[in-house]
Amino acid sequence: MTKVDHATQPAPANVEFSQVGKRLTRTDAPGKAAGKTPFAGDYVMPGMLHVKVVRADIASARLRRLDVSKARALQGVVCVITAADLPDRMVATDIPGQTGQKRLDTDQQILVRERVRYFGEPLALIAAETRDIAEQAMELVEFELEPTPGVYDPEEALKPGAPIVQGTDNVVAQHKIKKGDVEAGFAEADVIVENTFKTPFQEHAFLEPEVGLAWIDENDVVNIRVSTQVIEHFRAVADAIDVPHNKVRIRGAMIGGGFGGKEDMTVELYLALLAKQTQRPVRLEYTREDSFVGHGKRHPFKLTYRTGVTNEGKITAVDVQIIADSGAYVFLSPYVLLYAAVAAPGPYRVDNLNVYARAVATNNMFTSAFRGFGGLQACAAYEQQMDEVAKAIGMDRIEFRRRNFLKSGEPISTGFIPPSAIWTDQCVEKAWAALGEPTPARGPIKIGQGIAAYQQSYGRLTFLHDTSEAWVGVEMDGTVVVRSGVTDIGAGQTSALGQIAVEVLGVTLENVVIYNSDSAVTPLAGTTTATRALYMTGNATKMAAEAVRERLVERAAKEFGVDPDEVDMAFNAVFVIDNPDKSMTFIELVRICALEGIHRSELAMFRAPFSGYLDPETGQGQAHPDYTYGAHAIEVSVDTDTGEVKVLKSIAAHDVGQCINPAAVEGQIEGGAQNGQGYALSEEMLYEEGRLVTPSFSEYLMPTSMDVPKVECIILESRSGIGPFGAKGIGEPAMTPVAPAIANAVADAIGVRVHEMPITPERIVKAMRDAAFQLDRGAHREE
């Protein structure tokens, strides 16, 4: 296929797809609507025990005493495990699954031995005959925690003499990018604008809490049914419980939301330990309160941007200083930080760039993966900074962006040139135009409009040498089966594979069944994270289906007496392209092939591009396979008396390369808008000395149906992505630009910027009052 110059040539029109690109009812939808689809917590086994986790109730402490004897003695309690029962066991928390190789030694204690580093850190596991008994047993566990000095702010944690939480100096990761000559760039600038932005913790708030059921089967294999984004954790489980890798089997289920919160192990290891210990099935379901303290949150970031710009609006230099709160344990902090560093300048041409990013340990809740993974936090800052710089030189915000957008074929911050189209300009233009004229302001209600553009990767870091496998086969009756380990976290990961397979095989979606997420039985597809599932597993599925198709077509061609490239398959039929009367049904062809032993299935592996690490000093190299570009435009009203913000209009424009299912793409965009709005305005995790004081959904407020506008989705398809049929990824990109667009709209409405998210009504009132105070002072001085 000839390489398309995306900068100059329009994309080919979508004329040739029969299933791809159509709003088909997803394969998983009817079962979910009927209430028939089981989730991990819906499985039970006879003799099953119920598990509860006992947790530390302060953030920084020495465990002086832990006495579980009374709990053990309670009638109906079968097993209580503490660190004393796990002498030298640690668990790996570095990049989940995939190669099975650890890159970093970030192993940690499974249960607290001596030192508590965060509020909620697990002390003991209880397994009992009933949930009631397990709950009663929790109250019988006695422990004494002696508070030790803790540190709850990353900048405090960097100071000499600060309590050390990890390593020797609390710095768990750092990344640098140095491109061009920033000193020269700043010298060239007419104006230099500096701002610091702060982003908060965020809770994934998937509606299904972490849950799983484990048992030992007749082959001594530890089976774990669990709600997870990563079935490849079986390796880490096996290592931690000291059994061979082929003796742990993780069976996923349809997952009730992940968003990165089920990317690290959650309940798997506890279940495996208890199943081994008791030799009975064991079930652990987190309460919502467990969930709030039981899985890693989004990293809070402090980002300081210094931008040099000419009066004509050309960016001459950008310096970015980032500090991320890694919380009590490292988990995926180094990678989140790397994403942020790579994303730091945004989708703009910045020839002179300096980025210095550090992740710092504290006694706060540990932080890890969350939709956007550092690239989102960077966007929250760089898009606000773009508005501020435009304001400083008196230029229209859109025009300023336009003068600096990266174009197709240009290198990003690491010097890498994305292989696909960069259509940020078109996306911004369309989203902004769709906002239209502002709603009229009324009394104290002011109106503001804002936009944010973004660059967000899809596919994992290329130094991970990522791969994904899928198997496609055709039954003797012509029905299609897809088998892949991919976990389905609700975005239609499995249905998309079905849609791809049937497109290639020329049949229709109701003819396919997809079996997924069983680490023993389905080919391993890798994690459902990093916006990689469609790209990696979609490509693997397409490869497998194409191999089968090739063999079927070859046999059909023989039947028709033509060359294979004269044969096509569509709508359950096989026919000669120029002579459609020469045809047979798909089923007829399959029967012939079955009879003749033609191989009607294929297992394929798709490999992402492999690269080395980025240069440690300059950050140059390839970090990701490719990037998605787009924009989100917002109109808000702000009640200047109370600070309340309403989002009135929400318009997204993304180049997704090629929709597999437009309804699914819209669904991601609309959902990402809710997640981003909550992040920008109402979701706040408050901690006091590391103790969470917003531990449920009545304190932690995500947007409800009364809080969000309907989202308008403008979908562009450049067909230039490296996913199947030219698709790019949309999962994380859908969320990335929303919060800064809202922040920009609010600043537009009230004329002053709140630099810290969430932009609460109280922060707005305070910012307006401070600005008015400054104005007053200024006025007095002139007298």
Partner: protein, 161 residues
Amino acid sequence: MSREKMITLRINGRNEETSVPPHRTLLEALRELGHVEVKSGCEKGDCGTCAVLVDGIALDSCLTLAWMAEGREITTVSGLGEGDAPHPLQQAFSDGGGIQCGYCTPGMIIAAKSMIDRNPDPSEDDIRIGLSGNLCRCTGYTKIFEAVTEAASVMRARGAS
């Protein structure tokens, strides 16, 4: 001293017996009886995933004691629809992209039904108010509003629920 009592719950038109103590919630009792279509999200009335109809009105089953539900008609999402034919709400949610992870779906459909039964032609605002107790993290609600509007129109046309 065991406080357990044998109670009969009438679920989706069938009587089901279970022995439960006073503190057992309807959510726990339903799931123990195998009605795992009723989901648990927070157990404190914040999220709506556990909603079921009790005498036709949507309640959070986590805030309802099982003993108090005796003698009432309980309907879960599995009890909607006729045989193999899905209820218009199930059809509309499924076909319109109103379902992503599906975990909030049973409670959302129950809440929507309860609202439509009392307000057969709901405006978008009515729908927002009717569903404000059902949290969804995946869909952003847009396609849910559309599904409920579509289903309400089908239900009006049929003249029955």
